[in-house]
Every structure is written in structure tokens, then in C-alpha cells.
């Protein structure tokens, strides 16, 4: 079928014995299937088709909103994208099937070829005849002075020094030697074949039993993590800067609490997550909260003269008493982008952007001229929008300090260790198979009038260039083995 299996099974070697042919039965079907699924052609096809599918996924943005696609490619194209699953190609049934096929392919290849390699590590390969040696890819013969035993011994010794495993057979009239080195190169290739399945398995476990969530967490708050049955308190969030003003790091101090007991406290940064009971907390983003502020600065003005009577910094949900003005005010609510739902009569923030910020005050006014309670919304951009009927005062929102939130990614992936095992296998496996190449040498030492004739032949499944060099060196060496 191909060079690899030929060399492995030694079809042209000593064990080549064709099986007796019979009718079409299960064994034949099975053999055909194994042949198909283990074929290198299928592997190449899968490699390239997966590469093509992956390319599509990088050219077309994945998991975007419909408008984005329609705007960029038009409606008709978008409909096709949906049909073909191109907006989320890595999770389509066919992409998954391709990965599954790749696993089947590499496993079948392992099943078909590894036993041969295993056997060849233990098998007798020394019973070969002269034509076999003469038919090898690299072959030569030379006359050497010395006896059959002496020359054989010299060759064996030299090869053993070079790290070859040598088998020798001494018969009357001739000696046969078999030497092999670098079988680990082949073992490595199969280690890599197994790794594909291991990695995919790890990924599968992760997607079945893992989760990934995003948490918007405010400083000072405690959140329950249901999937870990513990609580997480965000103690602090801050940003460090470089001298030139660019961001150096985003940091949050997190504390894990179990039944109110502090367990762990850790400062997490972008490259340094907190891991607790298999759940990972990543510093993922940050921002200004859209429904809370720490402080708001408010000017209290006289409605008639428009003169600022007092400037006050209101803390979130803390009542401030302005005795001189007969006022009690509290900062009761905040929205970053004011919106009003007229059905539910509810104020909400239309977005997380600070487009149209507004605060709600709860005020109680008791002066000589007025007595009232009210809950006005004060707009940052539209200071004069609403009048408070009956009040002597007008409020002006001068500024505010939004509460920072820290964006935490919360992840659990029980498959990740398996993925790392598979990764190690693939790297070790490919490295072995790339840097170590399997080579085999056969010798016949036949006595003649002058001394002996050494017939030598060898094959390798790759790295011809270095093997040729080695072969030449070996030839030179054997010619002078008794000199």
C-alpha cells in the first residue's frame, strides 16, 4: 500500500508469506475497512480538509450577531452561512465528525501497524538469503582480509559501539548479521497517533462536565459560587500603570469563604488566576458599574437666584443632613444610560455605557416656607429638565465616581489534565519520530580464497541523506576492519 507499511511488515523481507485467498467473508470486509481507515491517504485528506474548514472559520467572524454578517456579506450570503454552519463552524456536526474520523484514522493505524513494530523488536530477522540483501535500497559488497568469525566479530563490535542492536547467526559457509537502531522513531509516531484521541477525549470531557461563566463583580461584594458551593468576596480591584501611562496590570484581590470562614486570599492578575477546588477565576475585564456609584457630587441651588448654596458629596445610600438648608438627602439610585419602561413604570439603564447618567435622590425638605418629600431624578447632561414642585431648591449633578466592577471568568475544566497528557504525548511522539530514524542493516560474511566477501545492505524509512553517509562510513570501516 505504501512505503511505511512495506517496511514495517517486511513484505519483501523474510516473513513475507501471502495468506491463502478465500471468498468474501467478514475477514475480508474487516481487512478492507482497516485498510481504508488506517490509510495515509485518509490521514492526508483529513488534515487538509480540517485545515480548509478551520480557514473558513478564521476568515468569517464566528458567533457574531446577524446584523454584522448581513452588513458585510448581504442577506443571501448570510442565509447560506447559516445553512452551512459557517457562523460557528467549529461546533458544526461535520467539523466534529472530521475530528472523530481523524481519531478513528489514527487509532486504526495504530491497531494495524504497531503490533508489527512490537514484533520486530523481538523477532528473528537474521534468517535472510543473499538475494534479499542485494535487493535492498543501499547495498554493497567488498573483500576483506580475515576469517569469517574474525570479521563478523569486528563488525558486531563496531555496530554495538554505534548503538545498534545486533543479531548474528553463524553457519558453516557463511555468517549472517542483522543490526537495527532507532526503533523509537517508529514508536514515537504511534505515540503521536494515540495522542490525537487523548486530546479530543480531554476536550470532550471538558465540554461535557466543565463550564465557563462570566461574572461581573463589584468591590466589597460577596458572591455565591453554586457550582463550587463556596462564596467569593471581591476585596479590591485596581489598575497598575507603567511610567508612560500604559496599563501594566489589572488586579483583583479575591477571598474564598466557606460557611463564612476565610479560606484563601489571592491577588489575581491577567496571567495569574485563582484556583480553588478545581474552579479557576481569571481576571478577564473591568469597567464602570452601570447601576451604582460610590460618590456623587451635587450642587444645591436656590431656584430663584440660581446661586449655589452648598456643594455636597453624597455617599451611596447614605443620608446626608444639610441643617442650614433644612434638607435631608440620600443618593438612592443610579443609571448610566437613562431609560424608562412606561409599561412597568420602571427606570432602567439602556446600556452599560455612561451615555445619559442620572441619579435618584430621596429628599425631605423642612424649611419655613416649604415642607415636602420627593424622589427626583437628576440628569448629568440635562440639569434643568425637571422641576421639583414646591421646593425652594434645584439640584445639579456635578460629577460622580462610578463603582468599578471586575470581570471574572469562572471556569472549570476536568478534561484539561487529559489534554496535557495528550499534548505531552504528541510533542514527545513527533520529536522521537522526527529526530530518530529507524534503520536496518544486513550482512553476509562468506569466506573465499583471499579472505572473506562481505555483502552488506540496509534500508531506512526516512532520512536517506544521513543514512547514506553512515552507510559509506560503515563500508570504509569494514574494509579495514582487520588492518
Amino acid at each position: 500500500m505504501n512505503g511505511k507499511s512495506e517496511a514495517l511488515n517486511g513484505r519483501s523481507g523474510p516473513q513475507a508469506a501471502p495468506k491463502p485467498a478465500s471468498g468474501i467473508g467478514w475477514n475480508e470486509v474487516k481487512a478492507e475497512l482497516v485498510e481504508f481507515f488506517s490509510s495515509i491517504k485518509l490521514a492526508m485528506f483529513l488534515f487538509l480538509i480540517i485545515a480548509v474548514a478551520a480557514t473558513i472559520g478564521t476568515v468569517i467572524q464566528q458567533n457574531e450577531r446577524a446584523e454584522v454578517y448581513v452588513k458585510e456579506y448581504g442577506e443571501e450570503a448570510y442565509r447560506w452561512f447559516l445553512r452551512l454552519g459557517w457562523t460557528d463552524i467549529y461546533h458544526t456536526w461535520y467539523f466534529t465528525s472530521l475530528l472523530a474520523l481523524l481519531c478513528i484514522n489514527s487509532l486504526t493505524c495504530f491497531y494495524q501497524r504497531f503490533p508489527g513494530i512490537w514484533r520486530s523488536m523481538h523477532q528473528d530477522k537474521v534468517s535472510v538469503n543473499l538475494p534479499f540483501i542485494k535487493n535492498l535500497k543501499q547495498t554493497t559488497e567488498m573483500s576483506v582480509a580475515g576469517t569469517k568469525e574474525g570479521v563478523s566479530k569486528g563488525i558486531v563490535q563496531y555496530l554495538a559501539e554505534k548503538g545498534y542492536m545486533v543479531l548474528a547467526k553463524n553457519e558453516p559457509g557463511e555468517a549472517t548479521l542483522y543490526a537495527t537502531k532507532g526503533i523509537m522513531g517508529r514508536v514515537g509516531a504511534h505515540m503521536a497517533h494515540l495522542s490525537a484521541t487523548v486530546i479530543v477525549l480531554g476536550g470532550l470531557i471538558g465540554s461535557l462536565y466543565g463550564f465557563q461563566e462570566f461574572g461581573v463583580c463589584l468591590e466589597g461584594q460577596t458572591y455565591h459560587i453554586p457550582k463550587g458551593s463556596f462564596d467569593l468576596r471581591i476585596d479590591k480591584f485596581w489598575i497598575d500603570y507603567h511610567e508612560n501611562g500604559s496599563v501594566k496590570s489589572y488586579n483583583s484581590i479575591l477571598t474564598v469563604l466557606e460557611q463564612g470562614q476565610e479560606k484563601v486570599t489571592k491577588t489575581i492578575t491577567v496571567n495569574d488566576p485563582l484556583v480553588y477546588k478545581g474552579i479557576w477565576f481569571y481576571q478577564s475585564s473591568y469597567g464602570d458599574a452601570w447601576d451604582q456609584v460610590d460618590v456623587a457630587r451635587v450642587n444645591v441651588k436656590d431656584k430663584k437666584t440660581d446661586k449655589i448654596l452648598q456643594t455636597v458629596d453624597l455617599q451611596w445610600k447614605k443620608e446626608a443632613t444639610l441643617d442650614k438648608l433644612g434638607l435631608k438627602i440620600m443618593l438612592a439610585d443610579f443609571v448610566a444610560d437613562f431609560g424608562f419602561n412606561s409599561n412597568e413604570k420602571k427606570v432602567y439603564s439602556k446600556s452599560v455605557e455612561h451615555e445619559n447618567p442620572a441619579i435618584k435622590l430621596e429628599m425631605a425638605e423642612h424649611t419655613k416656607k416649604s415642607a415636602l418629600e420627593a424622589t427626583p431624578w437628576i440628569f448629568y447632561h440635562y440639569p434643568d429638565l425637571f422641576d421639583i414642585p414646591g421646593s425652594q431648591y434645584r439640584f445639579e449633578l456635578v460629577g460622580y465616581q462610578p463603582r468599578k466592577f471586575t470581570g471574572l471568568q469562572i471556569t472549570r475544566d476536568p478534561g484539561v489534565t487529559i489534554v496535557w497528557i495528550g499534548s505531552t504525548m504528541i510533542v514527545v511522539g513527533i520529536s522521537l519520530s522526527s529526530f530518530i530514524y529507524h534503520r536496518r542493516l544486513w550482512f553476509k560474511v562468506i569466506p573465499d580464497k583471499q579472505g572473506v566477501t562481505v555483502h552488506m545492505g540496509g534500508t531506512t524509512h526516512k532520512n536517506q541523506i544521513d543514512f547514506n553517509k553512515e552507510f559509506r562510513k560503515l563500508t570504509e570501516r569494514i574494509k579495514t576492519i582487520n588492518a
Partner: protein
């Protein structure tokens, strides 16, 4: 900053000189030295390097010296940049932006070439591979100045993973660049051979089988390195982004490149696949590497968009 930029500039000119000298060497070599495989029974592979005469010897020697010197200046430039980074940004990896990455790739390509020359004694490869090193360095220096300076790292990059993930990946790119250069060389020589007995300039190139094998070797080095680089990237992502694989364009493209070379490695296992097809494939693969390295950064958006 200026000191390292000066050294990078010097590297560029030295590589240009070396490139020109290697081309001159190819032309100066007395062609058609029929050092056929006579002394090497059974081998189609032979090395016809020993027969340089006249000017070729001197030009070849000067080319090698300039290349090695250029590589040393390149090393010094990277080293100086590392020191500057240490002062400005607290990490020293001199491959922290597109410019530095390019300079590092040139460094790795030239190192690979020098090792190849010393091991196999084939200088004509320099006309192709040193050329790629020079082009990489040249492309780097064409980047706008703001890309060339050692700005502090953004938080996501500020990690010890950058030392190993980036350097391993870039080294694999260099190996693929080498294979691409050898592929072009193969196609040149092959074209000449098709027209009849090879004479003239083309005859000074090594024989096809040698070029083919060397190209294969380069890919055999690049392939496991890229696998290692991708996996180091996955490990880093697991620390920084909350998942080892998120189909970000850059990581997907590195996988695509890896799959392309994976198909190549498997194809070579089948009998008779090599030579012409392998050479074209190596050039194609290298173009994909270039896209993965440059194209993705400038054309596709994603988590790797740091350039």
C-alpha cells in the same frame, strides 16, 4: 532603543551583503564539475562542493564570514534589545512585538543556515536561504517606527510564557522558511534539468535529491517545534484567557499550518512522494506560514492582535 535599532540596521546591511555574495558565489563557481557519484556506490546523493576553483573559493569564504558576522551582530542586537526591554518593561524577551519577532526569525534562519553549511558543506543554499533571512530583516525594518520600539507589554503578554512560547513558535517558522527556500532552489534546478544536461549557473547547485532531503529535514525540525509551540500557547491561554483553546484566528492559523505540514509528513511516507511535488508543497507551506505570521496580525482580528 537607538543602540539596538542601529545594530538591527547593521544586521540588515550585512545580510544584504552576504546574500549578494552567495549569489556571486553561485555564478563564480566553475559549473559542470562532473563529480558524479562514482565513489559512492549505491548512492544517488553526492556532495559536489569540494571542487570550487578560482574566485569562487574566495567569494564563498567571504560570504560565509559575512554571514557569521551578520549573525553575531543580529545576536548582539537582540541582546541589546533585551537589555533595553529590561529597563522599560520589566521583561526581557526580545521577541515581544512584530519587529522583534521578525528580527528573531532572521536570526534563527541564519543560524539554521550556518549550521547547515558547516555540516553539509553546501554554500549555494545560501543564495536562497540567506536571501529569506535578509528579506525577513528588511520587512521588519519597513515597519513603522512605533512598531520598532520596545514599548511596555500589555498585561496579557506580561508573563514568563512569552519567553518560551514565542521563541519556540518563531524557531519553527524559521525551519519552514528554510524548507521553503530549499523548495525554490529545487524548482530552479529542476527547471534547468528539464531543458537537458545542466550547465552554467544551475550546475553549481547541489543535485535534486540532496535539496529534497534537506528540505524534508528542515520540515522535520519545524513540525515538532510548531506542535510544541502551539501546546505552550495552549498552556499560556489556559492561564491568561481561561481556556486552552478558543479558536482565536492566530491559534487556528498555527493549527492550519501544522495540519498542512502534517499532511506533508504523511505524504512523504508514501512511496514516490517527494521531489517536485514536495518542493512545491514546501513553498506553499511557507506562504501559509507567512500568512500565519503576518497576515493574521494585520488582516484578521483576534486575541493575538498585539502587533
Amino acid at each position: 532603543m537607538l543602540r539596538s535599532l542601529f545594530l538591527f540596521d547593521m544586521t540588515f546591511w550585512l545580510y544584504l551583503a552576504a546574500f549578494a555574495l552567495y549569489i556571486a558565489y553561485v555564478f563564480a563557481r566553475k559549473p559542470a564539475m562532473q563529480m558524479a557519484a562514482a565513489g559512492h556506490p549505491g548512492g544517488g546523493v553526492s556532495f559536489t562542493t569540494e571542487g570550487d576553483q578560482g574566485w569562487a573559493v574566495q567569494i564563498g569564504q567571504v560570504a560565509t564570514i559575512i554571514t557569521v558576522f551578520g549573525w553575531m551582530v543580529n545576536t548582539a542586537a537582540l541582546f541589546t534589545r533585551a537589555m533595553e526591554r529590561m529597563q522599560h518593561s520589566g521583561t526581557f524577551a526580545p521577541w515581544s512585538n512584530q519587529f522583534e519577532a521578525m528580527a528573531y526569525v532572521s536570526w534563527a534562519i541564519i543560524l539554521g543556515y550556518v549550521l547547515l553549511e558547516f555540516r553539509y558543506r553546501i554554500k549555494t543554499v545560501g543564495a536562497f536561504v540567506v536571501g529569506i533571512g535578509f528579506i525577513a530583516m528588511g520587512a521588519a525594518s519597513l515597519l513603522p517606527y512605533r512598531y520598532q520600539t520596545a514599548e511596555p507589554l500589555v498585561p496579557a503578554l506580561n508573563s514568563y510564557w512569552i519567553y518560551i512560547h514565542v521563541s519556540v513558535t518563531l524557531t519553527s517558522y524559521a525551519a519552514f522558511a528554510m524548507a521553503g527556500g530549499l523548495g525554490v532552489m529545487y524548482l530552479f534546478r529542476e527547471r534547468a534539468e528539464r531543458k537537458g544536461p545542466v550547465t552554467g549557473v544551475m550546475a553549481s547547485l547541489p543535485d535534486l535529491e540532496t535539496i529534497d532531503e534537506l528540505g524534508y529535514k528542515a520540515i522535520m525540525i519545524g513540525f515538532p517545534m510548531l506542535a510544541f509551540g502551539i501546546i505552550l500557547g495552549a498552556m499560556w491561554a489556559n492561564y491568561a484567557w481561561g481556556g486552552y483553546w478558543s479558536w482565536d484566528p492566530k491559534e487556528t492559523w498555527s493549527l492550519i499550518v501544522w495540519l498542512i505540514y502534517g499532511a506533508y509528513i504523511h505524504a512523504r511516507m508514501t512511496r514516490g512522494w517527494g521531489g517536485h511535488r514536495a518542493a512545491i508543497y514546501a513553498v506553499f507551506g511557507f506562504l501559509m506560514v507567512i500568512f500565519c505570521f503576518w497576515g493574521v496580525n494585520f488582516l484578521l482580528s483576534g486575541l493575538h492582535a498585539y502587533a
